[in-house]
Symmetry: C2
């Protein structure tokens, strides 16, 4: 069994604990003959995969009444992985969601670190600075890199901490953010754990 | 006496409590014969104004040791206006600064509302939604407009409130933000009040 997370630019395959990342444009779903369980936010890929009988879309297995209809499928999967806690998925966006006793309580969407840095840069050349991830978020800033880094991170980190524990960090920027959450669990495979749990629930066709 | 705040796209003139906004590109500083005290972040304008003897740059009047060298001059001016409190200047960026007994304690820079909305829109068409400024920031969101609006505003508003009182709101988006700060003083002329105070201190040449 292969698990697969299809984004707009990349395909992330997971088999027996091993992860392989490929470019979405070059990827041919017919090249895999094993059973594949996938999630996808890539509409071009969805058209290609529709005739592959061994590819199973996990979207159909989600109990959507727990979530909301326009919620991203990747976000649903990291929530499925966690029974109790705050899930921070730090990718192109940073999604923050709360699960309590398996019930989805809601969440919010922040800009991802790269998107935020770029947005500051677009505002003014003076704000197009390297971020200082060593910044002390408890202190008021007195230079531009700290004012920008803390300006984005201090409110976000405080808000996440206010939601309670445990905190799970996933996604490409999980390691960078973990500096500000010393007690958090960093788990870059949370999305695949969610997919696996959903398959085990047996609603997959 | 005329006060003037020169941005990259507009010129904001203030005389006897009356404000006039003009386009920076068309504006000829020689067209004004009265004494003008100005701040400017517009380098093209600065070259044009250099030969106007009646135009006085307030940058030279700032006691920069109180602030930091790369701090925006507009930000310094709103701080000069306030002896005690938290100053939120919500324009293309949202700057947040703290003054205690006339001493600058530091601050941070957030994206402006428009810049943030655009940055979400660039991430994904699914996040290119109208913001809901009626959102209840105390509740976890369960739809995309609320998840995005609260994702940006809830952390920022909580962080500003954590800095103490009084809170002063200035800049083009002061009215929109005031909904979330019922006790704040909205003062769209804070920048001119700071300029006036600085002139009264008498360090202007």
């Amino acid at each position: 069994m292969i698990l697969c997370d299809i984004g707009n630019t990349s395909v992330d395959l997971y088999q027996d604990g091993k992860r392989t990342k490929l470019r979405a444009d070059d990827f041919d779903p017919f090249s895999i003959t094993e059973e594949v369980y996938f999630i996808s936010v890539n509409s071009r890929f969805n058209e290609r995969v529709i005739n592959c009988p061994n590819w199973h879309d996990l979207r159909a297995a989600v109990a959507w009444e727990k979530y909301y209809p326009t919620m991203g499928i990747d976000r649903v999967m990291v929530c499925e992985a966690v029974e109790e806690g705050v899930i921070v998925d730090a990718g192109s966006a940073i999604t923050v969601d709360v699960m309590r006793s398996g019930v989805y309580e809601g969440g919010f969407i922040s800009l991802g670190l790269r998107a935020a840095r770029e947005a500051y840069g677009r505002l003014s050349p003076a704000l197009d600075v390297s971020w200082n991830f060593e910044v002390d978020l408890a202190k008021m800033a007195k230079n531009t890199p700290n004012a920008v880094t803390a300006g984005f991170l201090a409110p976000l980190v405080a808000q996440i901490k206010s939601l309670g524990k445990p905190i799970y960090l996933s996604g490409g920027d999980a390691q960078i953010l973990s500096r500000f959450f010393p007690d958090a669990v960093v788990d870059e495979e949370l999305i695949f754990k969610g997919m696996k749990k959903l398959i085990e629930k047996g609603r997959v066709c």
